[in-house]
């Protein structure tokens, strides 16, 4: 297990090993000592023979603490089992029952969740009578409402997904839906919750036994030992300390195990450190990228990319998903997050970024105007009122009617196109020399897409800002840009003008890409041209040209040596003829 190397994993393993040792071997190793009555050593303090002292009957406290691990942990697990079983049943039922019965049950769960768990446990313990088993039931049942609520909430979130809708269309029954489709997909957070709950149950059990409602003498668990020890805490503090430490350690073991489980299942591995590329202003070109590499451990999604975007130039960066185009754009604006590592040099003027989904890139809790003004107050220390005025002016610049009103609205009140306009206006709050737009119109409708592309062109003309447009759509790029960079598997394979793109590119990949897109004049009697095979993954080592395995023109040299980038194309056999 790799996770054991992390501090959390190691702590989990260590405390769990201690707990297992006590549970499995405790009664065997110390069983005799724990019941041996020594009338010569009644209620003694710590000594060499009894490191934690003895109790009122002269029994060794350390031995009793170790032996008590088995009933304490065992009963806590029994309680957890009851919680999980009851919670799954109650929380899963609304998904199986019809709409009305489900709603009724949800209301019931909501009602019982409102009671504090420990209070329910206490009441149940009184009702069910004292003793180990009844107390386990009391604690287990007290945990059911919270677990049921979690199950139900998670199930509801999965129930909204397309694959559940697909199964419904196929006529899959409700019970099968719950068992086959819903539960497996919510299992991980539930396991984490159950593990954390086991720690809580252990503590609750100690509390109940301490109050005399749990395990009864002559049986004993940690809570009861604590109770006995506390009566004599001034005579022999060790007698109370030993079970106390055991409870804390065991509780910690469960919690750390739960945290660790959350990390393993949730994929929340601790972030590695990496150097981010910095952006600093330079005169001349708007963006110069030299030998840019972005790596995530062994995977290298961007493998040495060099290009320039001149002042005021509009350049498109196209490629399929996995080509590294978006990472190149992120690296150019210094936004690659660890564990990503950026190498190479990037020189960029003041940069504004426009993302694909303006809903996630605008803060939903702040008014549009406030967010825009923030840019000016933070960067130029502009007074708030002046910044607000500039925000409204910029919103007007991107053709938002009633800009003053929109500035007071929240992002969710705007349509997708309006949000993208606001995002562009935000970029214009400074004086950008470069606007990097990453798939700015992919989430938008065609009619709105056209407006946004027109707006970007207008902004570029009026402010002199250069544009780097990242897109998978050649036609979109051709609408706005004069030059196109084509990326494939982490490298730029072709750098050409839009005229050349239309007339006939030199790289076989660009040609194939162009042919595979149906346009409004495509011949409908013919199947679309396709590119067989798939792009090499960023982790695959590629010796020659990355496109060679899929290329009809590839020769032996293509498979062994990467072609140099010459005359705007990286290919050993470029296509010369222009259609």
């Amino acid at each position: 297990m790799r996770g054991l190397k992390t501090p959390l994993g190691a702590a989990a393993a260590l405390s769990l090993a201690f707990l297992l040792f006590a549970v499995v071997l405790g009664p065997i190793l110390w069983g005799d000592d724990a019941i041996k009555v020594d009338t010569m050593a009644l209620a003694q303090g710590a000594s060499a023979a009894h490191p934690m002292g003895t109790d009122g009957l002269g029994r060794d406290v350390l031995a009793r603490t170790m032996v008590a691990a088995r009933p304490s942990v065992g009963l806590a697990l029994l309680a957890t089992l009851i919680t999980v079983a009851g919670g799954l049943l109650l929380g899963g039922l609304p998904a199986v029952l019809g709409r009305r019965a489900g709603r009724l049950l949800n209301g019931f769960i909501g009602l019982v969740v409102a009671f504090p768990g420990l209070l329910i446990a206490l009441v149940l313990a009184v009702v069910l009578g004292s003793g180990g088993r009844p107390a386990a039931f009391a604690i287990g049942l007290a945990g059911v409402p919270a677990f049921a609520r979690l199950t139900q909430t998670l199930a509801a979130s999965v129930a909204g997904r397309d694959f559940v809708a697909a199964a419904r269309v196929l006529g899959v029954g409700r019970t099968r839906m719950l068992v086959r489709h819903i539960l497996p997909n919510i299992g991980e957070p539930l396991i984490v919750q159950a593990t954390l709950g086991a720690g809580g149950a252990l503590l609750a059990f100690a509390a109940l036994s301490f109050l005399g409602l749990g395990v009864q003498a002559p049986d004993y668990d940690w809570g009861l030992l604590l109770n006995e020890g506390l009566n004599r805490v001034y005579v022999n503090p060790a007698a109370a300390l030993a079970p106390g430490i055991a409870v804390v350690l065991a509780g910690l073991a469960f919690n750390v195990l739960g945290e660790y489980a959350a990390q393993v299942f949730g994929g929340r591995s601790p972030a590695a450190r990496g150097a981010g590329g910095s952006a600093r202003p330079v005169p001349g070109d708007a963006l110069t990228v030299k030998d840019l590499r972005v790596s995530y451990g062994p995977a290298v999604p961007v493998k040495g990319v060099s290009f320039t975007v001149g002042a005021g130039e509009r350049v498109g960066l196209v490629g399929e998903s996995g080509s590294g185009k978006s990472l190149t754009a992120l690296a150019a604006s210094g936004l690659v997050e660890p564990p990503g590592v950026v190498a190479g040099s990037i020189e960029a003027g003041e940069t504004a970024m426009v993302f694909q989904d303006p809903m996630t890139s605008l803060n939903p809790a702040l008014r549009v105007g406030t967010q825009l003004a923030e840019v000016a107050t933070a960067h130029e220390r502009l007074a708030r009122r002046a910044a607000g005025r500039r925000a409204v002016a910029r919103l007007t610049d991107v053709h938002i009617a009633a800009a003053a009103k929109v500035a007071r609205q929240y992002p969710h009140e705007l349509s997708g196109g309006m949000r993208q306009r606001a995002m562009i206006a935000m970029g214009l709050m400074g004086t950008p020399r470069l606007i990097i737009a990453d798939e700015p119109t992919t989430a938008l409708d065609v009619t709105v897409q056209k407006q946004i592309l027109d707006l970007l062109r207008e902004v570029s003309d009026s402010t002199g800002a250069a544009i780097l447009l990242i897109s998978h759509d050649l036609a979109v790029v051709a609408q706005l840009c004069s030059r196109v960079l084509v990326m494939y598997a982490g490298v730029i394979v072709e750098d050409l003008t839009v005229e050349r793109l239309v007339a006939g590119p030199a790289h076989p990949y660009t040609r194939a890409l162009l042919a595979s897109v149906p346009d409004m004049s495509a011949d409908r009697s013919q199947p679309l041209a396709t590119i067989p095979g798939r792009m090499p993954s960023p982790a695959d080592p590629v010796a020659g040209c990355p496109f060679a395995p899929r290329c009809p023109r590839a020769g032996d040299r293509c498979l062994t040596a990467m072609p140099p980038f010459e005359d705007g194309v990286a290919c050993w056999h470029p296509i010369k003829e222009v259609s």
């Binding site: 086959r180 409708d445 065609v446 346009d519 199947p527 041209a529």
Partner: protein, 235 residues
């Protein structure tokens, strides 16, 4: 094969004060064995219409025939397949129950039909590419032996080179099996490529419909014209 018919279909979504008519009286026929393309922008009600046809949303008025045997292929193959279910069991689940059904054989036949190898049956969706996932989704829809198939934006989550393969597959399957199909997309070029007839939807209503070439070369409705003018073109 059966025709798919929408007669005066209205769909109301939301509760009480927030309720709104998303589909406002749609009459549309997909003749048996043909493909009708449905175009329109997001929010126009085209996906709601599809969901109504398979019973995922209730009708406020009108009638959709046939009432059963309609299968839907969803837009996003990353969310329409259960991440914990192998490809084989996902397809097998859709095969109608009954005596003498050779499930394993049927699954193999369907995977072959959509151009996947038999070895794919044991894999989980996360080990497949987007295009392969969409093939699985198509195989699953066909496994239910549907009378009508509705494809809702099935290529918009895919890369362009993969989109071509899926479109070719859809055309091949439609011709081989004589499927009746409603093909929904916001991409006019894609709709033009696969459909025999096209219907344009705007704000919950069908504003224009007819043979693909007629509608796209001589649009009568102003909205269709705007839509056509907005399509980015290379040439």
């Amino acid at each position: 094969m059966t025709a798919l018919e929408f007669q005066g279909v209205r769909v109301r979504l939301g509760r009480r004060r927030h309720a709104a008519d998303v589909v406002k009286g749609v009459d549309l026929t997909v003749p048996a064995g043909t493909v009708v393309g449905l175009v329109g922008e997001s929010g126009c009600g085209k996906s709601t219409l599809a969901r109504a046809a398979v019973g995922l949303v209730p009708l406020a008025a009108g009638r959709i025939t046939p009432g059963s045997g309609v299968q839907l292929v969803f837009q996003d193959p990353y969310s329409s397949l259960d991440p914990r279910m192998t490809v084989g069991s996902a397809v097998a689940e859709a095969v109608p129950k009954g005596a003498g059904v050779d499930r394993a054989g049927e699954v193999a036949r369907l995977l072959d039909l959509v151009g996947l190898e038999p070895g794919h049956a044991g894999r989980l969706p996360r080990h497949l590419s987007g295009g392969q996932r969409q093939r699985v989704a198509i195989a699953r829809a066909l496994a239910a032996r549907p009378r009508v198939v509705i494809a809702d934006e099935i290529t918009s989550a895919l890369d362009v080179s993969v989109q071509g393969m899926v479109l070719n597959l859809v055309r091949e399957l439609q011709r081989e099996l004589g499927l009746t199909m409603l093909f929904i997309s916001h991409n006019l070029a894609v709709v033009r490529y696969v459909s025999d007839r096209v219907a344009v939807m705007n704000r919950g209503r069908i504003v224009e419909s007819g043979p693909v070439d007629d509608v796209l070369s001589a649009p009568r409705d102003p909205y269709t014209r705007t839509l056509l003018e907005s399509v980015p073109r290379l040439r």
